[in-house]
Amino acid sequence: MAENQGSPPARPVRVLIAKPGLDGHDRGAKVMARALRDAGFEVIYTGLFQTPEMIAAAALQEDVDVVGLSILSGAHMVLFPRIIDALRARGIDDVLIVAGGTIPDDDIQPLLDLGVAAVFGPGTSLGEAARFIRDHAPVRHDVP
């Protein structure tokens, strides 16, 4: 292939967006999915009421680089540890985990300690979130 001058094909970053928990509002998650699409990401949108097991199974099958969790129900301190455990149980320890929704300031540090890379509050612009994800998406080994 020495003659081939073409640059290697760009590798789209794959992002899973999931809504764990029981609140039935996914407008914010959909807006974020669209914004990330417009920033060139491939977004797998899994919808409402996702259990930690469903999120982990989807992350594995879709081989995503990033898991974005949108949560409005207030159950994040219960659900996030379970989601992270479910991911690890499937050997997924190299994805970037980000969170959005309504998360009180006091809970942000404990979530970061759990391994969440960033918490996007209501004040975060879509552009900022997309930029953070682009800058921090893991450069992974090709073989797990």
Binding site: M1, A2, E3, N4, Q5, G6, P8, P9, A10, R11, P12, R14, A33, R34, L36, R37, D38, A39, G40, F41, E42, V43, I44, Y45, T46, G47, T51, E53, M54, A56, A57, A58, L60, Q61, E62, D63, R90, G91, H141, D142, V143, P144
Partner: protein, 324 residues
């Protein structure tokens, strides 16, 4: 990236390792050389799975029906692979892959594997590497493999080349079936499901479509059955799986199965050839002495010394088509 790890990935995939399947799929989609090696290695072990294309207009209920099919197929003991294709944005290259929303809770079942795929600029309802992903699923023991196309309008029916069985969805309210005739999509359906049976006009549409397709019996005796389904409620799904199995048997006992596989192989080989040729300079394909011929042929076309058809003939070493 280490090539040493490649045999490991292929071996793990063949043993049914789902993480290996997922990662191999990513590598293949990205055109990574490691992915290509994996496909080369596993290819001899593939070709057994029943590939079922699921196509139809946007919003017809393809994903919902696939979810219902998974349940019925699991009940019959099959290990079910699903590939869900959605369009990429032509502007950003990104995509929102939303078919997975319709999938139920299969997370505890290792015999269901669902993968979303962006079309990445490919027209025709599939993605450029769908054929290769099918091989990966096949190697990992999934059979059948259900492939949902991008919601098709008129004529994006590539999946019929790749699948052994094409399931075409129609829904009431989009016309009386004449649209399907005009677009020639009715012909690609080995089985036609009129979905949203709960909506008005469904039975009438079945009637209209039945009138239109009864004339089409293929040389080996298959004529497309037209079924009513309500994917949301799971109605008609058992009959649908019966028909899928009947079509598979028909392919096995007549010569039709072999013919379908030849069509699929030709489609895949031509697809790869086209991808190579569409690169800005497919020169790496050519021997040194051919490179000059290639460049010369392109210049000739620009300068109107040669027609595009004559350039192709030159490159293939054939006699140029003579103007009549």
């Amino acid at each position: 990236m280490s090539r040493d790890a490649t045999p490991g990935l292929g071996v793990r995939l063949l043993s049914g390792d789902l993480g290996a399947l997922a990662r191999a799929a990513t590598l293949v989609e990205n055109g990574d050389p490691v992915g290509r090696v994996v496909v080369e290695n596993i290819h001899p072990r593939t070709g057994r799975a029943h590939v079922v294309g699921v196509t139809g207009p946007p919003g017809a209920g393809k994903s919902t029906l696939i979810d219902a099919l998974i349940g019925e197929l699991r009940g019959r003991g099959h290990r079910v692979g699903v590939i869900l294709i959605d369009p990429s944005s032509p502007i950003s290259g990104g995509a929102v892959l939303g078919d997975r929303i319709r999938m139920g809770q299969w997370d505890r079942d290792n015999h269901v594997f669902i993968r979303s795929m962006a079309a990445r600029g490919h027209a025709g309802g599939l993605a450029p590497t769908t054929a290769a992903l099918i091989h990966l699923f096949d190697a990992a023991g999934f059979d059948p493999i259900l492939v949902e196309t991008v919601g098709v309008g008129q004529g994006e029916i590539e999946v019929a080349h790749l699948a052994q069985t094409t399931l075409l969805l129609q829904v009431p309210g989009l016309g009386d079936g004449v649209q399907a005739i005009k677009a020639g999509i009715l012909e690609v359906g080995d089985i036609v499901a009129v979905n949203k049976a709960d909506l008005p006009g469904a039975e009438e549409l079945v009637h209209d479509l039945t009138m239109m397709v009864t004339a089409d019996t293929d040389p080996d005796g298959w004529s497309a059955p037209i079924l009513l389904t309500n994917a949301t409620a799971g109605e008609g799904v058992r009959e649908l799986v019966d028909r899928l199995e009947a079509h598979r048997r028909y392919l096995d006992i007549t010569g039709a199965g072999r013919r379908r596989k030849e069509i699929a192989a030709r489609f895949e080989v031509f697809g790869l050839l086209r991808q190579e040729l569409e690169q800005e300079s497919p020169l790496h394909l050519l021997q040194k002495d051919q490179i000059d011929r290639w460049r010369g042929a392109i210049s000739d076309v620009v300068e109107r010394k040669r027609t595009p058809g004559a350039a192709v003939a030159l490159l293939l070493g054939q006699a140029a088509p003579s103007p009549s």
